[in-house]
Subunit: 354 residues, 2 copies
């Protein structure tokens, strides 16, 4: 079933996953398209962003955000078009950045909805390089990582939308950049297309030794997206006074229990003390939302000048989203993974949508 | 044997301790008093500081500073008097802050030696409230902790020279201050003499619950000196965006192996991510040495105005230092522990020393 103007497909949270999400985690439901009241707009989802943080929303463990309720539409960032507007400032046909979640249609009073304009070359980029992942990379690197020229910046998930941006900005700042990614193809891309100085495959034999060889001056900034065995390899290589922007720990998101011992928690703190490290967790809009305009200006310029390369992986159809999300957590994505929810013709013929 | 002008008593590192230092860790040796060459000064130790970091110097595990060599004089901060000076800027009788280590006499070319002046009301304070511990407290709190008025600051080892100063400065900054200390007497002192809002005994039953009850608004700044079970109790109470100046982990300094599992290292990183925490290790003079004048001005004013209370624990005699250091690591000290190395008469009759 593809997107229509009469049926609202919704993926709702059917059960909280134990470990990896599976085919029973989300359930496809259909309902009628909601009608906007006065002061409201009707939004049609064109692109849905898939991001690792969504795994946290499926769980009811304590976190910085409330979990998605069982039976509720799964949350997610979206690029949508205004279909009907009863609200000043929103015109039919406008592209907007919003959080419709995993569904075709949503009604909104405009709160949290950002108008992107009537005509965009790359509407989906608002979910990636110009949006949350790109902003996360820029802010984590420039506000916490604080790299100086000639320092070594290491970034995990190096071809993901955050990691790829971190590394490219660090290159623009004059740093040596060493990525970590899963598989030879991604590593080659990081070096050849993104311009990293090196990229090490964490799935390869001798990963830790290869990483050590690739960072002869140690690591001054480690941008953490992954955790687990990747962090184990990085920690001994961190230089005195290194900074660790802690952005994600995707390797552990499906974990159902703590790893077996010994307990290294105190040992990690000892490393932070003796190496005078700074480790800071951040959630992009809560910590740095006020800096978005500065980021947007810089990134727009870099993209216009061809200084930042952006790879996107568009997967067709809302029904494909659950499987695509499971793959994302497994490291199967290559570039920013988005779901194209809207039918192709609607993109090509924006004027005919309303 | 007390201090004389003809014999130099030295405590040298006899063996690297496994676990807690013991009577065989240090060895008392005697030698002749060294003679200063042209361009040198002869220094006589009056006070020796005992500090937890010294445990690290006894070990050859990788750290931010080289270990003391076997057979070498144990390192340590000292307040000394100039006995003989062949160096401009140093006059016989001057008090100086230096690092003679655990011995009576040392010769120096003046590097790292700070003249305190010919007459001081409290020479030993240069090892405490006006020196490394006081500066550590001030810098860790003001540069990393960044407390705002009405925030809750929690500090471990609350009656130690660092913790007591952290808490009192935080009170001056308008914060609610909750200390953690070992034993009812120390806790009463923290509240009654230091002016903390509360102080919880980590040796008491239900410590974690008591700490929770004493921090109804959570903890915004946790100044870490201790680690281990104390940190376990603090971590769940940390508020979003809390800051953790990581100054010491004394509870683990004698550990010979990691605790048994599960391995909570990744879990701690998950807490840092989800709570958007900042954890930063620091070594005072490497990180903040340039701020010493600012600290000294502020602390001098606070002391003159009676706004900071300073408790010192003077233990008589260099030979008592090894046992006193073992006790320090056990939490037996109450206030800043210093060894009075010089004989009493030398203090009373400074003019007669030379």
């Amino acid at each position: 079933m593809s997107q229509s103007l009469t049926i609202n497909r919704q993926l709702v949270l059917a059960e909280r996953p134990q470990g990896e999400p599976n085919k029973d985690t989300l359930r496809l439901e259909t309902s009628t398209v909601p009608k906007p009241a006065p002061g409201q707009i009707l939004l049609r989802t064109e692109y849905l962003s898939l991001d690792p943080y969504m795994r946290g929303r499926m769980s009811d463990a304590p976190s910085y955000a409330a979990p998605v309720a069982l039976g509720a539409v799964m949350e997610g960032g979206t690029v949508a078009q205004v279909v009907v507007s009863h609200l000043e400032g929103f015109n039919p046909g406008d592209w907007v950045l919003c959080a419709n979640g995993w569904q075709d249609f949503a009604v909104s009073d405009g709160e949290g909805v950002t108008v992107l304009g009537p005509d965009l070359a790359h509407p989906s980029w608002a979910l990636g390089i110009m949006g949350m992942p790109g902003f996360t990379a820029w802010a984590g690197l420039t506000q916490i990582g604080l790299p100086k020229p000639d320092e070594t910046v290491c970034v995990a998930a190096a071809t993901g939308p955050v990691g790829a941006t971190v590394g490219q900005i660090a290159k623009l700042m004059g740093c040596t950049v060493v990525g970590i990614a899963g598989g030879a193809e991604k590593c080659a891309f990081a070096v050849n297309d993104l311009g990293f100085d090196a990229c090490i495959d964490h799935k390869s034999d001798g990963f830790a030794n290869q990483l050590k060889a690739a960072t002869p001056k140690g690591i001054d900034v480690y941008f953490e997206n992954v955790g687990g065995a990747v962090f184990d390899a990085v920690l001994p290589l961190l230089n005195t006074a290194a900074r660790i922007p802690l952005c994600g720990l995707v390797s552990g998101y499906n974990a159902t229990a703590l790893p077996t011992g010994p307990d290294r928690m105190g040992w990690l703190m000892g490393q932070i003390l003796r190496k005078r490290l700074t480790m800071r967790g951040f959630i992009i809009f809560q910590d740095f939302g006020h800096l978005y305009p500065e980021f947007a200006t810089a990134m727009t310029d870099w993209l216009a000048a061809g200084k930042i390369h952006y790879r996107e992986e568009v997967i067709e159809g809302l029904e494909a989203a659950p499987r695509a999300f499971i793959g994302l957590l497994r490291g199967e994505s290559f570039g920013k993974r988005v779901i194209h929810v809207g039918p192709e013709k609607m993109i090509e013929n924006k004027e005919g949508v309303i």
